[in-house]
């Protein structure tokens, strides 16, 4: 598996939001057909179907584990079927699996599908789940931990030790919304927001207000990944996987790797991972047209930007506040608005950002299109920021 060996040739996506009547099956079938059609291939070309697990267990997961999808969508030549899950890092884990299947030579076409429907669960079930999901049952949950509290502590540390202001943190929410306002599939497509509104919204876990926290939503997306050779035959604008880097830090937020222990220096954990992706691609920060940052919470997105080389560590807040990461800015970041603007679909946030990355490089991003985008870096990670994955993509091989 080397630089540019594999490429994405088509994507599919359904609107993100609360659609309790739209089942995960319907989402999966819909995005699968869209992606295959967009790729310009036949469903019978698909040799492997990978699905991401629904993060909050549902009957859909069990069905997928038992091979439901290839039969239902007519992937009659499917030879490999599997569910891959690594929390919020699933988007990367599943892509690595797809690359492995392609490298095996058993097939040259893999379909990747994500579908999520949170609205089948009550608010209490969701709160309970997301307390447990991010935190440890023995060491954290008895203290009343929640995912928001987890992010709030990390945000509080980041702000305190870097001098980042709460207005700057709120600015990233606004920037994400501005991007989402250009994305018809985004949960917040038609809802604008100001820094003042973000700061005045209800306090959830100081320093985080409600608008700095995520809203769980239903959604899904799919894409087709193939060999570069086939991609060039069937697609006029394939998007190549050029470089990838990964690292794992911890399960429990209180037990991170040394490089992730000090929130002023979290870029020292992230930067080497991004560097590996850059090096494999033979590219650097200055070559990137877009930075697709996924951190789910605004202060943590700033800590991620600190690692990417276009801003001095600790100064991302000021850059975001200046508007340079918003539409029309010098450093377009997170062009679908991510969890804060597009909506939080569990394992799907990374999928949505990846699919958006592909659209940008195929020139199919509509109103959010960054003109002439050739290369970008995107990331995902899971758990209590347990891991981090950076990928460099391009519509040409440098």
């Amino acid at each position: 598996m080397g630089k540019g060996d594999f490429a994405i040739i088509g994507t599919g996506e359904v609107p993100c939001g609360l659609y309790p009547e739209r089942s995960e099956y319907e989402i999966a079938y819909t995005v699968a057909r869209m992606a295959v059609k967009d790729a310009g291939i036949d469903m019978k070309d698909v040799g492997a179907v990978l699905t991401a697990a629904h993060i909050m267990g549902s009957e859909y997961n069990t069905e997928m584990f038992f091979g439901h999808l290839p039969e239902a969508i007519g992937a009659k030549n499917c030879r490999n079927v599997a569910t891959v899950v690594a929390g919020g890092g699933s988007s990367f884990a599943i892509r690595r699996t797809a690359e492995g299947i392609l490298a095996s030579g058993q097939t040259d076409t893999v379909l990747v599908v994500h579908a999520q429907r949170f609205s089948q669960f009550s608010v209490n079930e969701q709160i309970k789940y997301f307390a447990h999901a991010g935190s440890n049952l023995e060491w954290e949950i008895p203290y009343g931990m929640t995912y928001n509290a987890l992010a709030a502590m990390m945000s509080q540390a980041y702000m305190n030790y870097t001098g980042t202001t709460i207005e700057q943190v709120a600015s990233h929410v606004v920037a994400c919304r501005k991007w989402a306002n250009l994305q018809p599939n985004a949960m917040f497509y038609s809802k604008t927001v100001t820094v003042e509104q973000v700061l005045k919204s209800r306090m959830v876990a100081y320093p985080l207000t409600a608008l700095m926290c995520n809203v769980l939503a239903d959604g899904g997306s799919a894409y087709v990944v193939t060999t570069a050779e086939k991609a060039r035959k069937v697609c006029s604008r394939p998007v190549y996987l050029l470089g990838e880097g990964s690292d794992y830090s911890h399960r429990n937020i209180f037990n991170p790797k040394a490089t992730f222990k000090d929130m002023t220096r979290s870029h020292e954990f992230y930067a080497p991972i991004a560097k590996r992706a850059f090096e494999e691609a033979g590219l650097g920060t200055k070559d990137m047209d877009i930075f697709e940052v996924y951190a789910a919470y605004p202060a943590l997105a700033l800590s991620m930007m600190d690692a990417l080389g276009f801003v001095e560590p600790g100064k991302s807040g000021a850059l975001v506040e200046s508007g340079e990461t918003s539409p029309g800015g010098k450093y377009p970041c997170t062009t679908n608005g991510e969890a804060l603007g597009f909506g939080h679909t569990g394992t799907g946030v990374g999928f949505a950002l990846f699919v958006e990355s592909v659209r940008q490089l195929q020139g199919k991003a509509g109103k959010a299109q960054v003109p002439g985008a050739r290369f970008l870096i995107e990331n995902c990670g899971g758990g209590a920021w347990m891991d981090a994955h950076f990928s460099v993509l391009g519509n040409e091989i440098p």
Partner: protein
């Protein structure tokens, strides 16, 4: 709102309003037994000296089974905190607002805990803390932290 009012208002079960407690594992039992006796214990490897928190089955540094429980000083500094005000599980709603925090022990580990006996407005990163023990059931005592009181 107390547990009884929450149950009536939101049609909840007893389980919904009951705080979850740690279920000690075979290798963490000593920590919880220590807490019950007002002792903050840490699992230290006798071979490589590494202190593991949380404790696991064997040393996460060298995989040795050869460990001992050592008593911590009961002092710590505040690394970061969150003041929880909304959107917590029902069982914790009667406690709102409450503080969850990351505290750094001089012995090495960082712990997730609560800061108590303190106006949240007084919290400052780096402030000195001391451990207190809160009995939450007949079996379980949770170590929590409060601002250090100047001795003497």
């Amino acid at each position: 709102m107390d547990a009884k009012e929450l149950k009536e208002k939101f049609h909840l079960s007893d389980e919904d309003v009951t705080k979850p407690l740690p279920k000690p594992a075979r290798w963490s039992k000593a920590f919880w037994e220590g807490a019950k006796q007002r002792r903050l214990l840490l699992k230290k490897c006798k071979d490589c000296g590494h202190v593991d928190h949380p404790p696991y089955l064997y040393c996460t540094e060298c995989q040795s089974d050869n460990s001992q429980w050592v008593e911590a000083s009961g002092k710590a500094t505040l690394y970061a905190f969150a003041i929880n005000e909304y959107g917590v599980p029902f069982a914790f709603m009667p406690d709102l607002p409450y503080v969850t925090a990351l505290v750094d022990l001089p012995e090495g580990p960082r712990m997730l805990s609560s800061i108590v006996e303190c106006d949240p407005k007084e919290l400052k990163n780096g402030m000195e803390l001391e451990v207190v023990f809160e009995d939450v059931s007949a079996e379980i005592t949770l170590p929590k932290w409060r601002p250090a009181r100047k001795s003497g």
